[in-house]
């Protein structure tokens, strides 16, 4: 039998592709209900008009993650309070793609968009690691450690960039290793991207808090339930937040 903690665990690995942060950490998971192998997840976003392409990816990725859990026989993910909720929910539930949801308005699926933001995420993460080594242009991936470094490895694999431990530690978004001469500008660029992503994420959290009248910072609330199972998360049924 699947319980709420399992589902939250799976959703913890699903990221907002624009912000490169977990849906659970961002507070986007509004509710989880389990009945045997039947799981229902409700997602919410900071505004009614959040971009439909990212919203679609989150709903589709969340459904895939929950479906992949052992014991789950049926997974439903519903986006709430969004201007395209109806189109997205129906299409994802039916296993369709972005073009199926918006036949008139989408020219293609979202792979290119996802790749673009994986590159941005990689830049941002690398920016936070530059000071961890004496000579960034000579460093190897094996010299980097911690959550940012782990995420860099993951992103590199997703982008098809070498992620073996003796690969160059710092690369451009399309995988070209940086040289010593590139370092100063690379530092500024990565810091700018990192600051932009963090800024957006701060704004999203703030708007979500205002929109749903949440009392405290979302990450603490959810985080606490994930690390120390609270009553709501330890039972077979319950809702988050």
């Amino acid at each position: 039998m699947t319980d709420v903690a399992d589902v939250l665990g799976a959703l913890g690995g699903v990221r907002d592709p624009e912000l490169d942060q977990s849906l659970v950490e961002l507070g986007f998971v509004a509710g989880v209900e389990c009945e045997g192998g039947d799981v229902a997840v409700r997602l919410r976003l900071p505004t009614y008009f959040c971009a439909p392409n990212f919203a679609f990816l989150m709903v589709a990725d969340a459904r895939r993650a929950v479906e992949g859990l052992p014991g789950v026989t049926r997974a439903r993910v519903e986006l709430a309070d969004h201007f395209t909720a109806e189109e997205i929910n129906a299409t994802v539930q039916g296993g369709g793609g972005f073009v199926d949801a918006f036949p008139e308005h989408a020219a293609d699926e979202l792979d290119e968009l996802r790749t673009l933001f994986q590159r941005k995420a990689l830049m941002a993460r690398q920016g936070r690691l530059l000071d961890a080594v004496p000579d960034p242009a000579a460093a190897t991936l094996g010299q980097l450690e911690g959550p940012d470094a782990d995420r860099c490895r993951e992103l590199r694999r997703e982008l098809g960039i070498a992620a073996v431990e003796d690969a160059p530690a710092f690369v451009t978004g399309d995988g070209v290793p940086i040289t010593a001469a590139d370092v100063p500008r690379f530092r500024r660029m990565t810091r700018l991207v990192s600051m932009s992503l963090e800024g957006n994420s701060g704004l999203c959290r703030g708007l979500l808090r205002t929109r749903y009248d949440l009392e405290e910072e979302v990450p603490n609330m959810i985080g606490a339930q994930l690390t120390t199972p609270a009553p709501a998360a330890s039972g077979a049924c319950g809702a988050v937040a």
């Binding site: 505004t47 009614y48 008009f49 020219a107 810091r191 957006n200």
Partner: protein, 343 residues
């Protein structure tokens, strides 16, 4: 005019609205739109400046004039129309409505126009009519605006170029670009500013003011602005972080000064989302936090004076009293002052 420590600042509010979002003038999308605006207002304003929702839907004209000019230190405000007639059937704020409002307060406002490339030839004729009537110096463009089944447009579309050519011919020099969450095709990043890059290269005599300094794509904005000398950054939406998240605001300002320089950044409140009074007061008192200065440097009073009003005054040909001008030549060049290669 704002005065602090013996210095006088000329203030141009580059982005203001006199909108109508009353229930009788909105559908469900309009309701979602104004609710989202209200959350921005509530989330980022100091508590004493938060309005009740009913007032936010439609505020009185004299209240706006009071907030901007009587207590808000603004010398001149630019009204940026946002039609959104698919959400607000009578218009959220149109050029005509703005002009009628501005006429009651002579000398206070600059009325900008708007166009939509999807209106084709008819829209070009309408632009000429608007220009004849209101002698436009600028237009506000909203690329995410819905029109029937369409979900937005790009600045480098064929018809957009036709309209930009018309602006050039009519002498409408200031093109304010505002990005939103929908743009055709929907699978692309709607906030991407690459289309501004193309248009700015093609029309070097026009000024492209990217509203919200490209937020949430500050990095893309900085990047194109370093390469196009006629691209400017409007600080609407970035300004209020000065209160709620001053470190983030410091980062934004520090990066903008580094990448595009002090001559291409324009102050704006985005009234009635935020009010100029507290933004101006806090900005003049603002300094890049100490622990960030080794990387981002500091901001000087001259730079603040340019951002608060002198840069916009230059774009709109406004007379600024000699005492409020910046005298000293600037010292450092931003990245955008020299050509750069793509990383």
């Amino acid at each position: 005019m704002y005065e602090k420590d013996g210095r006088q600042y000329f203030v141009v509010d580059g982005h203001t609205h006199f909108w109508d979002a009353r229930p009788e003038n909105r559908n469900k999308y309009g309701e979602g739109f104004i609710a989202c605006f209200y959350d921005y207002h509530k989330n980022l304003s100091p508590e004493e400046y938060v309005w009740p929702k009913e007032k936010y839907d439609r505020y009185p004209a004299d209240g706006m004039v009071h907030d901007l000019f009587e207590i808000g230190y603004v010398d001149k405000a630019i009204l940026q129309p946002t039609y959104l007639t698919d959400f607000f059937p009578g218009g959220f704020n149109t050029t005509e409505q703005d002009a009628e409002f501005a006429a009651q307060y002579p000398g206070k406002f600059i009325v900008n126009g708007a166009w939509d490339p999807r209106d084709g030839e008819d829209g070009l004729a309408e632009l000429r009519r608007l220009n004849d009537t209101y002698q436009l110096q600028g237009v506000k463009l909203y690329t995410a605006e819905w029109k029937g089944s369409s979900r937005g447009w790009k600045l480098n579309d064929y018809w957009s170029y036709r309209y930009l050519e018309e602006c050039e011919a009519l002498g409408i020099k200031n093109i304010h670009v505002h990005k939103g969450p929908t743009i055709w095709p929907l699978n692309r990043d709607a906030f991407d500013v690459a289309d501004v890059d193309h248009a700015a290269s093609k029309f070097p005599d026009l000024n492209f003011i990217v509203e919200h300094v490209g937020l949430p794509r500050l990095e893309d904005f900085c990047w194109i602005a370093t390469q196009e000398p006629n691209v400017y950054g409007g600080l609407a939406v970035a300004m209020p972080f000065i209160h709620s998240r001053p470190k983030y605001f410091g980062q934004i300002v520090g990066e903008l000064l580094y990448w595009i320089g002090e001559d291409r950044i324009l102050f704006a409140s985005d009234y009635a989302i935020w009010q100029p009074k507290w933004l101006v007061e806090k900005f003049v008192d603002f300094q890049i936090p100490e622990d960030m200065q080794s990387e981002l440097g500091t901001i000087s009073d001259d730079q603040k004076a340019k951002i608060l009003g002198l840069n916009a005054a230059r774009l709109y040909g406004l007379d600024v009293p000699e005492s409020m001008q910046v005298q000293a030549p600037k010292e450092e060049q931003a990245i955008g002052s020299e050509p750069v290669s793509v990383a």
